[in-house]
């Protein structure tokens, strides 16, 4: 219910924008870089996807917590598997911090694999902030798998449903290789929602979902004994190694732990590093807000500081629990090096990934 006057004012403003099409003047604060300005966040996907939801969820918090209270609007530029929007951003964003881009790994991978249509250089862009989206891998009880070790000798063949090998499925597919699991992979689903339904119907028996969906949609299945959670993707420690447990689902082992349990040693080599790179880009920094090269330090600092303040915002914590799984925002300056490092894998890692994609999944480079 709308009770207090503040909300009425907000509604009034909203209606005014709708009908008269005039933007409201943002609150002024003279000293701040963003005072009296507005930020446009480009989302290179259609409305309704993960990047769109994340960008829109964060927008009002950014408005509230960036010094100077800029107006923050979200603009969808879909097309070309997100390459159209990212290329648009690269061509149009001026280094003034007034245009940002919010992406997922679907934008990063074409760049990483040198797709000819990826006309944007992420290595030159600045990371404004990031937000994690952790994966939880679970199986059907019909497989007889109760714990990670059972994955090597399932009661029925493991069948995994995915969207496309070069998208958010990539780290999970690499994890299966790393753990030497015998999995039949069926790609071609239109989204992770239909994949979950296919799992529930029994068409597949091995699946992963992002933490917010896991917590809301899969945990009820676990309680009904229709799904068995197995592992998470893991989380980086202070040195950036993907060896810690996911803070949102701390009772599940990570891929790192599962490997150690199955094979008795720390995972290493190109396979492990390929998993680390793909996983970090897809999950740990699942949502990344980019600023163009040459963005003034004042602008970046304002966003970094806003990220800290947003994390302390009760409302963000409360709503974030269900929207994003409860991960805090990460300041760009603390994660930029890790993001850039993951985007520049060593030659053997690149070779491993391209070989896997080409030989097993028919991707042409």
């Amino acid at each position: 219910m709308i009770r207090d006057r503040g909300q009425w004012v907000m509604v009034g403003v909203a209606m005014a924008v709708l009908l008269v099409a005039l933007p409201s003047a943002p609150a002024q604060s003279q000293a701040a870089y963003y005072a009296g300005k507005s930020i446009e966040v480009i989302v290179p996907f259609a409305p309704g996807g993960a990047a769109d939801v994340g960008a829109r969820f964060a927008a009002p918090f950014l408005e509230k917590h960036i010094a100077g209270n800029p107006r923050v609007t979200v603009r969808n530029v879909p097309g070309g598997g997100s390459m159209l929007g990212a290329s648009f951003f690269a061509a149009n964003a001026r280094p003034d911090g007034l245009m940002l881009m919010c992406t997922t790994s679907s934008t990063v991978f074409p760049y990483l694999f040198g797709h000819p249509s990826a006309r944007y250089d992420l290595s030159k862009m600045r990371v404004a902030m990031t937000l994690a989206f952790g994966p939880v891998v679970y199986v059907s009880p019909r497989t007889g798998v109760r714990k990670p070790a059972d994955l090597l000798k399932p009661g029925e063949p493991l069948v995994y449903g995915g969207i496309a090998a070069t998208g958010s499925d990539l780290p999970v597919l690499v994890a299966f290789e790393l753990l030497k699991l015998n999995v039949k992979t069926v790609l071609g689903f239109e989204g992770r929602g239909p994949i979950r339904l296919a799992f529930e119907r029994g068409e597949t028996n091995l699946d992963f979902q992002f933490t917010p969906v896991y917590l809301t949609q899969v945990v009820p299945l676990v309680k009904e004994a229709k799904a068995v959670p197995i592992m998470t993707g893991g989380f980086p420690n202070e040195r950036g190694e993907l060896v810690s447990r996911d803070p949102v689902v701390p009772d599940l082992p990570s891929v790192f732990e599962v490997y150690r349990e199955l094979y008795g040693s720390r995972p290493a080599g190109p396979r492990w590093r390929a998993y680390e790179a793909a996983s970090v880009l897809t999950f740990t920094y699942g949502l990344t807000w980019w600023a163009p090269e040459g963005t003034p330090p004042d602008a970046l600092r304002a966003i970094y500081e806003a990220a800290d303040r947003i994390n302390a915002d009760r409302d963000f914590q409360e709503r974030g629990k269900s929207v994003t799984g409860g991960y805090p925002l990460r300041r760009g300056d603390t994660v930029e090096r890790a993001v850039q490092k993951a985007m520049r894998p060593t030659l053997d890692v690149t070779k491993y990934l391209t070989d896997l994609l080409r030989d097993k999944y028919g991707v042409r480079f």
């Binding site: 071609g188 929602g193 999944y361």
Partner: protein, 655 residues
Amino acid sequence: MLEAAVAALAVFGDPLRLLLLCGGVLAGFLVGMLPGLGGIVAVSVLLPLILRLDARTALATLTGALAVVYTSDTISSVLVGTPGSPASAPTALEGHPLAKQGQAARALSAAFLSSLLGGFLGVLGLTLAIPVARPLVMVLGSPELFMFTALGITYAGSLLGKAPVRGLLAGVLGLLLGLVGPAPAAAEFRYTFGQLYLLDGLSLVVVALGIFGLAEVVSLLARGGAIARSVDLGSGWMDGIRDVIRHRWLVLRGAAIGVWAGILPAIGATAAAWMSYGHAVATSRDRRSFGKGDIRGVIAPESANNAASAGDLIPTLLFSVPGGPAAAVILGALYAYGIYPGPRLVAEHLDVIYVIVWSFALANILGAALSFLVSPILARVTYIPFARVAPPLLITMVLGAYQATRHLGDLVALWLLGLMGWAMKRAGWPRAPLLIGFVLAKPMERYFWLTVKLHGWRWLAYPSVLIVGVLLVAPLVWGVVRGLRRRSRPAVETPPAPRATGSLRRLTTTVSAACLACLALALWQGMGFQFDARLLPLLVTVPGVALAGIQTLRAVQGEPPGPAENGDDGLGPDRLAVLIGDELHRFLQIAGYLLLIWLVGFHAASLVFMLAFLTWVAGMRWLPAVAYAVVSVGVFHVLSFGFALRWPAGVLVWR
């Protein structure tokens, strides 16, 4: 359950909520009326505004906007033959001829009433689905979804028209257009010709606008005069209502098709409208008036598309799986509120679902009332010389098409598809199979491969698959049987249509030969794809090339286009040659406008285009033309600002 329903109704006791719902309805109404803008625009424009409200108010506003789009989109379909949204393309096919015959009022009132009823039945379906949807969706695996998309394709069969070869070829072309972009089952992009714009495939909005809208506008322009031939508004409003009462079971069947299409994730409102239209044609004894303005062809799709937008909400609310693009935006809004739809929503927040149910019902009433209020005024458009109506309409279409990806490729695609639609129309190719093929190509391919890979070949023996298989095969068998019976009866002698000659023959030959060339190119390119990406293109193009060869031979021999699709019965060859030349001329003018947009941007180009068009083509005097053009572009500016639309900036413009 009843308690939750009543509690949800109390939500609307707050006058502000009611006001916002009305605001949503108004936004959806406007967006639906403008060709090219649809539910996604309506919902996404509201999104930033409403995310500051509480969840229930926000949902009421969003649902309000979504619910009326398929009511008001009828207006431009009927009046100017340009689909207000892709889902009302069948209405344009049948309702617009009625408007030309001076029966716009009848077509509109029948459409609004069936939209309203379809919406009601849809939302009733949504309410009833809550307890049964779970087991139902659990039954619908990939094999079943594949069978249902295949069933949808066979509906196109009843829309082939009098020339089955051309009808089949149109379907083949539609399937091919639908294959552009990423293959679902393999890491391969098909038919993108190195264009970034084509990487995601063609947008449905652009295809529907081009094939039906632009083609219609151009032929209306060339014909000259006003849209309506006979000036008789008359008491058509009551006629339309009587039509709906007479065809009440068709409304019900259309709504059932709509709800069902909504539940199926692969099939949306557009496919629902066409399937419902195909169903109306297939179940009618007398099919002669279809394509020339049959009220049944208005009632069936209008009932279905409103029902489908309610049906779309079933998987969205019960499984967190969006039933369509607009439903995906609503789902995103729910996520942003931390509401994750699914079984838990039904158990814990049943009132949220009922807020949506009530909003949907309320919005349908408001939308229909608004349509009834506004359209008598708008219906007068059909009596104004069309050349004066056309420029703002063209600008709206261009702006609408540009919203698809906000890439200039949208404009090029619109123009090319418009030319294609026009050529098909003139050469007597039915366009309905094309749109059905386009809409269902990818889901059919996707579910075919998922089925084969997940189930091997066992699925062919599944009982559910067999049941749908019977539904699929029965009408085909029935059609053959009926055809044989008819053949055994002495045929009624119809005088053969005169052979096509002169420019008409040149046109039919060009169209057939171009189709053959396209299919041959597609076949040749298709051979280079990986196996999982190659199967459907080859299945489509191999028979396609053969059919196109036959068709080209026939065209060379002077096969007449046939009276039904031509729309200009009884024109002499000389008059027709002039008309065709005139229409091609209009396409060149539009191309000039698009080129100008690329150079100097949307505003300046639209202003120049309108001025030039109004003075030269429409014969207006300078002063009123300037006033008209300035006011129109001003309105577009305000409108596109209000709806957060983007427009091309122009390469020569300093930024």
